[in-house]
Structures are given as structure tokens and as C-alpha cells.
Symmetry: C2
């Protein structure tokens, strides 16, 4: 069995969330936030006009595992104090994507010129939260050691639609030692704000996945002897639903470039405030 390579420390390792957000705001880092500020809650971002935001919130409520909506800002207010000191959601992520009519443009460092009086920020949980907990409990996650993107698959299962949002359920796959599978499942049940328990373990065909070595997103995984494939609901689900809706304007975080909050990864914010 190949030895895991020691992960190289990130140049921003050890920085606190507020210091990281200042760097991002100043445009001095536009990369991924994976591995930064361990133990802090990171969130996916969607920015929509108020009416579409309400519909998107309904879609999330109907599909809580793939789309765990944690927080919804007030219309027009870019400051998200409930999630951390002085967070300005227009500047404090490393990079953003702007989607027009379902087509995605290149990454941009801020969205100051796109923010409007009816813009609403929606923050969704992500799997970083539970991956840290798994690793802390001694569950080996090889995609983290390897530093690659996790494999994600479109399934044959449809999410519950909430017009104009609909689409397939997307899952991420982690190969886990069979002896660790029960514990990994139990640990992730606590992260209902971050996709929760695995929705399937075992035969990929049960999810309509024809070839587990050919993911729709991320890098081809390897399943070693003594490991079982475990599938969790994946945030790409909400991204697909967003693009499927072909809205005139939608904004998201750039891939991997998430909001780093001041909150603990295992403590989501109080129930959605909002509008």
C-alpha cells in the first residue's frame, strides 16, 4: 500500500478567520479555503435577488441533506455579523463566480458592483465540517491526504423540486475502511448542517452510478481492498439546481473558495434569521 504523502503546510496555515477574510478582501488571495482555519465553519455562498432567494430557500428546505441552508441575510444588507466580525459578503471570500442565464463567467475577486438593494446572501453548509471530525476520530480519508478534489456523481435520484429549482441529487464518494464505516456514519449524523449521515454505503449501482471510477466531478477515486464506498449528499446538487433555473443573475463562491466564519464547525448558526 502506498504511504500517504505528508500534506504540505498551507502558506496561510495558522491564520485566524478575521485575518484571512482581510486578506481576501484586499484581493491578496484568490484560492481555495480547504484546510484553512481548521475547526471553523466554512460555508458555500449563493447570492440572489430577494424573490429568487425565497424560492431557493424553499428548495433547500425540501432537500436539507444536499442543500443545508444555514443562514439567509436581510435583503440589501451585505454585513453578516451573525457569522463573524465585520463580514462583508461582497468582498470577504477569495473569489466569486457570476452566472447569467445559467452560464458561468470567470472567477472575480469581489461582487461590489453587482450587489443591489434586493440582493440576499444565502449560506449553505459544506462537507469540510464533517471531514475534519472524521479525520480527528482517526478515519482515514485518502482524497485529503492526496490533496485532490473529491469525486462527485450525478445520481438517478431526483431532488424535490421547488420552482424554478430542480435537478438530480449529486453525491460525493469517500472510500472508507470497512471497519471504520459504522463510526464514520455515526459521526456524520451529528452534522445535519453539513450533509449529515451517508445516504448510501456499498454498490454504486443502487444510486444509478454506472462506473464509480468515472466521476462527474473531481478526480477518479480508488477503492482499495478492505474499503467500502460511502456516499454523502453533495453541495453540487444546489449548484446544478441553480444553473438549471437559468436566472438572469446568480452569484456563488468560486469552487473551493468559501466563506470562513468565526463559528465552530460543529455549531451551525442559530436558525435562519432573514427577511
Amino acid at each position: 500500500m502506498p504511504k500517504p504523502e505528508a500534506a504540505r503546510p498551507h502558506p496561510l496555515a495558522g491564520r485566524q478567520p478575521a485575518a484571512l477574510r482581510s486578506l481576501f478582501r484586499a484581493g491578496r488571495y484568490t484560492g481555495a479555503t480547504t484546510g484553512l482555519a481548521p475547526g471553523r465553519l466554512q460555508c458555500n455562498l449563493v447570492v440572489l435577488p430577494h424573490r429568487a432567494a425565497q424560492a431557493f430557500a424553499a428548495y433547500c428546505a425540501a432537500n436539507p441533506a444536499p442543500c443545508p441552508l444555514l443562514y439567509m441575510g436581510a435583503p440589501g444588507d451585505p454585513m453578516l455579523d451573525a457569522l463573524g466580525a465585520d463580514i462583508d459578503i461582497r468582498t470577504d471570500l477569495p473569489a466569486y463566480l457570476v452566472h447569467r442565464d445559467g452560464n458561468s463567467g470567470p472567477a472575480v475577486p469581489d461582487i461590489l458592483d453587482l450587489w443591489r438593494a434586493d440582493s440576499v446572501a444565502l449560506l449553505l453548509g459544506c462537507s469540510l465540517s464533517f471531514e475534519e471530525a472524521l479525520v480527528a476520530a482517526g478515519v482515514r480519508l485518502r482524497h485529503l491526504e492526496r490533496g485532490g478534489d473529491i469525486a462527485a456523481f450525478r445520481t438517478s435520484i431526483k431532488t424535490t423540486p421547488a420552482p424554478p429549482f430542480s435537478g438530480p441529487l449529486v453525491v460525493s464518494m469517500r472510500a472508507v475502511a470497512a471497519a471504520d464505516a459504522g463510526r464514520a456514519g455515526a459521526i456524520t449524523t451529528r452534522f445535519t448542517h453539513a450533509h449529515g449521515a451517508p445516504l448510501h454505503t456499498g454498490d454504486p449501482a443502487a444510486l444509478g452510478i454506472a462506473d464509480v471510477e468515472r466521476p462527474d466531478w473531481g478526480e477518479p477515486p480508488t477503492i482499495q481492498a478492505g474499503e467500502v464506498p460511502m456516499f454523502w449528499a453533495c453541495g453540487v446538487t444546489s449548484h446544478l439546481a441553480l444553473l438549471n433555473a437559468r436566472l438572469p443573475l446568480a452569484i456563488t463562491h468560486a469552487p473551493g473558495a468559501m466563506l470562513i466564519t468565526d463559528l465552530a464547525a460543529d455549531k451551525p448558526p442559530e436558525p435562519i434569521s432573514s427577511s
Copy 2:
């Protein structure tokens, strides 16, 4: 393969939630609520003095999958209007159990004489909600067809303690056709208020279960050829933690005799009101 026996209709089938609660209040039915008012949210009940209720709520928050706390009443107020018309939690369940110092007494038809100025009702989600959705989607659940109690197992996994509450994670097991396993997992992800996705599928040993044919609660299950065992977090977890705490007084619903609310099974109440 034996044919499933057609389930005999329940004598109270077709009654609305308010009508059922009236019967229970009048002491005219003290049995289980399984199968009654399909499509309506049913809840497990725990009644504790205010201080212990706060601690129990913390235990539930730390273990959301086995202990999905849906609602917490105001101290001393037995009326739970948020859950249904005219619900008096002291009388409107078919039967209750009273536990003193961790010892359970016989079932009683009401708790009028035990309700105090600082009594708090806590309502927890249960797996009936998602079982109906599974059956509606064509997933065969043989324990329902057979009419027996579901098999539940003490695992080797500990819940996150919140003193004085602690104990092992208990899981329920359903044998599901391998081809249905992915869909069953995906459907139950939507029921984060009712144990959510399965925490494990496959080898029972991964949960510390030595013999899947000898459950700690319920009837011995059979796993037929072509089926996989699927394990969900189980409400017995909170019951064990409650008894482990050996409080001077705690009240719960009697086994299977739950609160039938006016709410839809797939729509939990608004986030906990309370105290």
C-alpha cells in the same frame, strides 16, 4: 418467498388527528398509534422539570440524529397549540410511562396529577415519518407488513454526553432490497427531523453488533437473499439516556403510543419555541 399478508385495517383507521386525541383524552384507547392518521407527524414525548428539560435539550442538540428535538413547550403550559388544535399534552396521548430514579412504572392513561408549574414537554421526531415515505415510494419494509416491532440494537458507539445525559447510540435495522438501498437512503435524508439518512448499511460488526439476529429490542429480523441491512439512528437512544440519568421524575409516552399532531409528517414544526 412468502407473500406479504395484507395488513388488517385498524379499528380507528380514517379518523382525523383531533378526533383521535379526543378518544385518547377520554381514555377510550390506550394502544399504539402506529398506522393511525397516516401522513401526520407523530412525536415521542418526554416531560421533565424545567432545569432537567434544558439539559435534555442540550443532549438532543448534541445528538440530532438519534434525538431530533422538534418542539419544547413553555414551563407549566400543557397546551401545545403549535402542534395541533387544543392539544393538552397531559391527556392527549393514549398512554404514558412514569419513571422514578430510572425505574419505569406501568402505563397510565394521563399525567394530570403529575403536571407541575415547572413541567416542560419535549417532543421528538420518530421514524414513522420516514417509513411512510419509504413505503409510498415502493420500498418494501417487511417489519411493517408483518406487524412486528422493529429490531433495535445497542451499538459500541457512544453519544455525545450532556450531563446528566449520556449513553450508547441505539440503531434500528431495516432489511431493504439491495436495489432499493440508494433510494431508501436518499428519501430518508429529507427527514432530518426524523433520524435522517441511514448511518450505516452493511456489516453489522462495524457498529459493534455481534449478532444481527439477536436485537436488544424488538423482534428478531430476517435478512433475505438480495437484501442489505440498513441502520438508522433510533429514538431508544434518548430513552436510555433518560433512564441512565436516574432523575427523581421523568415522564414519557408509553411504547408506540405517541402524540399525533395536526402537522404533515414531512413538515416539522417551526424551530423550537420555548422558554
